[in-house]
């Protein structure tokens, strides 16, 4: 398997992240189409267990599409999705939840007319009965949700809804959490908070694959990063290296090219 990767000259399949044992999640040469339009043209990336991997890219680069393909919401036309070395592409998203993949979709998608508590209980749907310890954990991570457990989710502020969306995914005891722009539309202070909590979640043992526009925050949290452009990985490296790369700094951190 590792030989396979080494033969692949694509930047996304490079060294760094892919060392050691079988990675938790691996995407190999994914091609995804919306009708006739190709959104992903051969994306490969690796998410090692216990790490945080960031996926950066401009609007429309295919970041959300990549996550949807990984969580089974979209079927790739070709390519493979491997979870612990086992092929899982072609498994429906509701089944894939049982394999320990939690997806916090773009735009939060909380159940707007259920209460916070009902949302969290829905998150534990695959477990038949919500684990009180999980509920406790979510409420410790997000004390704001604890105060508002009876509030209807649609009336929460944007930041609170994002917390709820993350909390709901955690209730299903995921080993791998796919997060699509958790900082979207949030005030800098809340973004800071969310990232601190994500760090804590990762330290508690959950692997994260993080799509972000907020490149500096994402790369500070991440171990490894990929940059996507029009459906293909154009750059990938360890997060600190990416963070200091002039091209990344110019394109995603808004720094002028000298």
């Amino acid at each position: 398997m590792s030989t396979d990767l080494e033969k692949d000259a694509r930047p996304g399949a490079g060294d760094g992240a892919a060392d050691g044992p079988t990675p938790l999640l691996e995407l190999r040469d994914l091609h995804v189409y919306y009708g006739a339009i190709g959104a992903l043209k051969g994306v490969s990336l690796t998410v090692p267990e216990g790490q945080v991997v960031a996926l950066l890219g401009a609007n429309g680069a295919g970041k959300s599409t990549t996550l949807k393909a990984a969580s089974g919401m979209l079927q790739p036309r070709s390519g493979e999705v491997l979870l612990r070395g086992e092929r899982v592409d072609g498994i429906k998203s509701h089944e894939l939840v049982r394999f320990g993949i939690g997806h916090v979709p773009e735009g939060r998608r909380v159940f707007a007319r259920m209460t916070v508590l009902e949302n969290l209980k829905m998150g534990a749907y695959r477990l038949r009965r919500p684990d009180p310890a999980d509920l406790e954990r979510v409420f410790t991570l997000f004390p704001r949700l604890a105060d508002r457990r009876k509030q209807v989710a649609g009336t929460l502020s944007g930041g609170e809804q994002q917390m709820l969306a993350i909390g709901r995914a955690l209730m299903g005891k995921p080993e791998l959490l796919l997060l699509d722009e958790p900082s979207m539309g949030l005030a800098p202070l809340i973004v800071q908070q969310i990232f601190e909590i994500l760090k804590e979640i990762n330290e508690q043992g959950t692997t994260l694959l993080l799509v972000e526009q907020n490149a500096s925050q994402a790369l500070q949290l991440a171990d490894y990063g990929y940059v996507l452009e029009t459906g293909a990985v154009v750059m990938s490296d360890r997060a600190p290296a990416l963070l200091s790369d002039p091209r990344v700094r110019a394109a995603y951190l808004g720094e002028a090219v000298e």
Binding site: P105, R109, R113, M122, Y125, G154, G172
Partner: protein
């Protein structure tokens, strides 16, 4: 730019500002009251005559009826206009007295004497009773047992005509509405062809009891037909459901409507099998246990009790469903199918399940119906009935079992009741009027479930779709 320049182009704010009913000039409300009185006089007055177009108008506006109605509505107007403040104060005072701290025992000050004391004591009492019913299972069960007892005795207190209505119409539609509520109220799928399954149930009864022109492989007792009919309807429900589950809202409604039309036309035109419009017969219910046998005959009361038993049985099963994992999955699907799938809900399976459960309930109703009448023909299963069934569910309150029961009972009862008081031809006009008024002023239904009420309120405030039935973005995603 000066204010004068823009004023010419911007419309006047005063004209655009929406005024509530009670901010408008008083004469408009007076006018509305007079119109209402005129309408009421005409509606409650004598009926029209075939050869004189204006007979009813002349009669009603020269008689005393119009004056009585005018008096009533002018009095209402006068009270609301001139005594409103005074009434408000009175009501507020009453509420203030009644709204005491929630646990009466903890309150130190003794209730005041006289009328205020009485009010407070009455409020305490009713709160205590409500508390008992809410918290003590025993009282809940007791209340239900009392209600059931009343329902069991009900046919003994009414005329045969009403017994027939209760069995042939109310009871039948109650069972249908309970099933339809699963599909529409819980799973949020708009079904306009529900009576098709009822027809399938009815024809199953006729077929398996040897009433159709074709011979069944074995003749079954009517009770044994029920599981067979349930199975048939389950298969039909899945056959209809499987290809249509990707559809939502209006699209699904059209497909189910088409399905009903197919079933109806098959029943009507495949005369060698169904008997078409001339009809077919069906056996009646009977039990033969060897040592004891009973046969349901022409008397409606025994059917009533049988039907009641079925309804209670189905309710017993369904009430558990509502708060189970299945019920929660349906709620999530109604809310957001993609999010539901991402929490692990198999959306396809649960939508199919709702379809199948609903269909089989409708099928049971069909078997009972055919076995009661002993005769069926294709004209009993018009598409109109599907529309009516849906309106019963919506009227009562989608997703709320008590609401659906109450709404159905009222709406089925009303046209029968009106038989004596208005021109029988016009009965459904009043039903239509009631539905229109109800949907404008109380769209959540008579006795809405708390969840539906919240969903409706929030959609008015801009969160979520206007109702569970509307096409939702992402509804057809994988």
């Amino acid at each position: 730019m000066t204010a004068g320049v823009t004023a010419g182009k911007t419309p006047s704010a005063a004209r655009l500002r929406k005024q509530s009913w009670y901010q408008q000039p008083r004469y408009r409300r007076l006018f509305a009251m007079v119109i209402t009185a005129v309408v009421m006089a005409q509606v409650t007055g004598v009926q029209g005559a075939r050869n004189d177009l204006f007979y009813a108008l002349e009669e009603n506006f020269t008689g005393t009826g119009i004056w009585i109605w005018l008096g009533i509505f002018l009095a209402i107007w006068a009270v609301r206009e001139f005594l409103h403040g005074w009434l408000r104060g009175f009501v507020d005072r009453f509420k203030e007295l009644a709204a005491a701290p929630s646990d009466a025992a903890a309150r130190k000050d003794p209730p005041p004497s006289g009328v205020p004391g009485l009010v407070r004591r009455a409020a305490d009492g009713s709160r205590a009773v409500r508390g008992l019913f809410r918290t003590h299972r025993g009282y809940q069960l007791g209340g239900m047992a009392a209600l059931l007892g009343l329902l069991i005795l009900l046919p003994l207190m009414v005329s045969t005509f009403w017994q027939q209505v209760m069995v042939d119409q109310i009871g039948m539609f109650l069972l249908i509405a309970i099933g339809l509520n699963v599909v529409v109220g819980w799973a949020g799928m708009l079904d306009l062809g529900f009576i098709a399954f009822f027809a399938i149930g009815a024809y199953s009864a006729a077929f398996w009891t040897g009433g159709l022109p074709v011979e069944p492989p074995v003749e079954l007792n009517n009770f044994l037909v029920i599981p067979v009919a349930v199975l048939t309807c389950l298969i039909a429900g899945v056959l209809l459901g499987a290809p249509t589950l990707r559809l939502r809202g209006d699209y699904l409604a059209i497909v189910t409507l088409g399905f009903h039309e197919i079933v109806y036309l098959t029943a009507k035109n495949w005369t060698e099998f169904t008997g078409g419009t001339r009809g077919a017969s069906s056996d009646r219910f009977s039990i033969d246990l060897g040592f004891w046998s009973y046969e349901w005959g022409l008397d409606p009361a025994p059917y009533y009790w049988l039907q009641l038993a079925f309804i209670v049985g189905v309710l017993f099963l369904f009430l558990r469903l509502e708060h189970s994992r299945v019920g929660r999955a349906w709620t999530a699907i109604r809310e957001d199918e993609v999010a539901a799938a991402s929490t692990g809900v198999d959306t396809v399976r649960f939508k199919l399940l709702a379809f199948a459960i609903g269909a089989s309930t409708s099928g049971i109703a069909g078997v009972i119906y055919a076995s009661k009448l002993g005769f069926i023909n294709s004209e009993m299963f018009l598409v109109l009935l599907s529309v009516l069934a849906l309106s019963y569910v919506v009227f009562g309150g989608m997703g709320s079992i008590p609401g659906v029961l109450l709404g159905t009972a009222i709406l089925v009862w009303l046209p029968e009741y009106l038989r004596d008081s208005v021109d029988p031809q016009d009965r459904y006009m009043y039903l239509g009027g009631l539905l229109v008024v109800m949907m404008i002023y109380r769209p959540q239904g008579l006795w809405p479930s708390r969840r539906r009420q919240r969903e409706l309120r929030m959609s008015q405030e801009g969160t979520g779709a206007a109702d569970a039935l509307g096409a939702q973005p992402g509804g057809a995603q994988a």
